[in-house]
Subunit: 349 residues, 2 copies
């Protein structure tokens, strides 16, 4: 469908990730040979986006287990320790725990009798997670496609694209499919301070795919809405809680409030792995506070007094009542979310 | 009252401006000897902020007229040409035209008989504009002081501080006075992309004055409001139209909408020179669209695909109905604004 870039490469039992901190200047893949290397890559946001870090985590666990090759009687214990390390890299991302849980179950459920057999099962499960993600993105794209009508203006925030997920991305999947089918539309992209995933990643990715993209500062979204340029907002999410609250990149909440003010629909794209039925609402989610220097500077260029106090929450919580609908791989889910989301995601994956 | 920096220095008939593009790293004053130099300084935002560019324009016109020293019979014609050049530097800023108009009237009203006399009158008028601005800032500060209560959280955007005006600034004047009187409060400062006047200027200026400041990304304002950290928003403005619409730095509109959503008061500080009674509403104001590279890069560091399309409006329009009140040097003006603003500013300056 598209010329979307691969965030994660897995071939012959070797893992490489596209170092997204170097985009858009440099396209460089980094080989990941250990859990430590993956932990650092996740922390440094070389690989980011909820589904992509789930996939990377799965392969990273496989790579580390291949390296350690523990005796079969120690396999589960070692796997548990490796999983715990990887999961601790990004506490907000439910996908990490989800992917790790799948790998652990894949081994324990089958009672492998040799280390080689257990390693093969781990690798197959990681590959299954990756392939399922591609299918999920395609399904999100198909369900979201009717939202992208001829001549419309779509605003997106951060990067919920191919770089954050696999192949088509989540929030971008309807855009990739609409573009492939010749529907003309314009995508407005918030730059997404402090780490500029919008300018560096989404603008790069969608422009590369030939779409009509316009980059704006985060603070210009309201002006674009006021002049009628925006017909819908479509974003991804790191976590949707049981009641439909949406935890996503800082700035998402403001867009949802602006949409309410201007009566513009606000859509969230959400794969099953992002739905956290065990957390009742957004208020229960611990929001990661990131380094102050991300705000004081950009890539080492100082922009503020060197020691000024900073608040730098990585995410905000958009209350369910501001979300028009959630575009999932099972269809578009409308409010009330509490039962409908659980229902949509209750069947087999 | 404060250790606020001087944006403009005028001494012995010589003009120097603090080059604000170099802040916070470098504090450097640049001598302005010609109208061309001032025009470029305004265009490059070395001097910025509606009142400050009015003051700088007045002194810049004096300096250029001193340099040209036209014969008295050519004085008015030359002055008109110099004024026209300066006014064209920043079409949105009503203060430029306002300051130029005052200088022209100062000369024509008195029928000076020599060039020296006309130049002295010009200089006295520029100094009067500057001194009046200091008095206006103090009056705005006194009228706004009751808004800053013990323990409150104030959010401001861009820079409507000493650097943008004179001495106390406009939006910052109540803060400087409250701080001087020992009232404890916290100021949240939006970084204000693309040119980062919040991080580079306001954070620097208020931290230097000893206030409790916290820098945030523009997109984090909603999260700060959601957690109850913000009790009021207080911003400056480049122009208030006859109906009370507020033209101010891009991002102001979003803050006003967020305030409405969270039921937080949204105040604008407005000196007389910023009130444009001849423009009916914000829709009638041409909004300056600035260079795309301001958004594609961050202080010279590339942050987006090199040729990606950009919308970069310098200002947005906040409708009067979102403005809780306007803090002027004549008192706090509440809605409906149309008659009350005109009334407040109708008396002698």
């Amino acid at each position: 469908v598209s010329a979307a870039p691969e965030a994660i490469r897995w071939s012959g039992g070797r893992l490489a990730i596209l170092d997204q901190t170097r985009l858009p200047q440099t396209v460089r893949y980094e080989t990941i040979g250990t859990a430590d290397a993956l932990f650092e890559a996740i922390r440094a946001l070389k690989v980011r986006g909820a589904p992509a870090i789930g996939i990377a985590a799965a392969y990273g666990i496989v790579v580390e287990m291949q390296r350690r090759a523990p005796a079969i009687e120690d396999f589960s214990g070692t796997l548990a320790a490796v999983c715990a390390q990887i999961v601790s890299a990004r506490p907000t991302a439910v996908n990490l725990a989800w992917a790790a849980g799948r790998l652990r179950r894949a081994v324990t459920a089958t009672a492998a009798t040799t280390t080689d057999e257990a390693l093969r099962r781990l690798a197959r499960e990681a590959e299954a997670i990756h392939e399922e993600d591609r299918q999920i993105c395609r399904a999100i794209g198909e369900h979201g496609l009717p939202l992208i009508v001829r001549g419309c203006g779509v605003l997106t925030h951060c990067n919920a694209g191919a770089l954050a997920v696999s192949e088509l991305g989540t929030a971008t999947a309807p855009l990739y499919l609409a573009h492939a089918r010749g529907v003309p539309f314009r995508v407005y992209i918030d730059e997404t301070r402090p780490l500029l995933q919008g300018s560096r990643l989404t603008a790069w990715e969608l422009e590369r795919a030939g779409m009509d993209v316009t980059l704006i500062c985060d603070s210009a979204a309201a002006a674009m809405m006021a002049e009628g340029a925006i017909d819908l907002v479509l974003v991804g999410t790191d976590r949707v809680t049981a009641n439909g609250d949406v935890v996503n990149k800082i700035g998402t909440l403001a867009l949802a409030i602006l949409c309410r003010h201007y009566d513009i629909p606000f859509y969230v794209a959400c794969p099953a792995s992002t739905f956290d039925s065990t957390t009742p609402d957004g208020a229960s989610v611990a929001i990661e506070e990131r380094d102050a220097d991300e705000v004081r500077a950009f890539r080492g260029t100082q922009a503020a007094p060197a020691h000024v106090a900073v608040r730098n929450p990585a995410f905000d919580v958009t209350p369910a009542e501001l979300v028009t609908a959630i575009v999932t791989d099972r269809g578009i889910v409308h409010p009330p979310y509490r039962d409908r989301l659980a229902q949509a995601f209750s069947g087999p994956q």
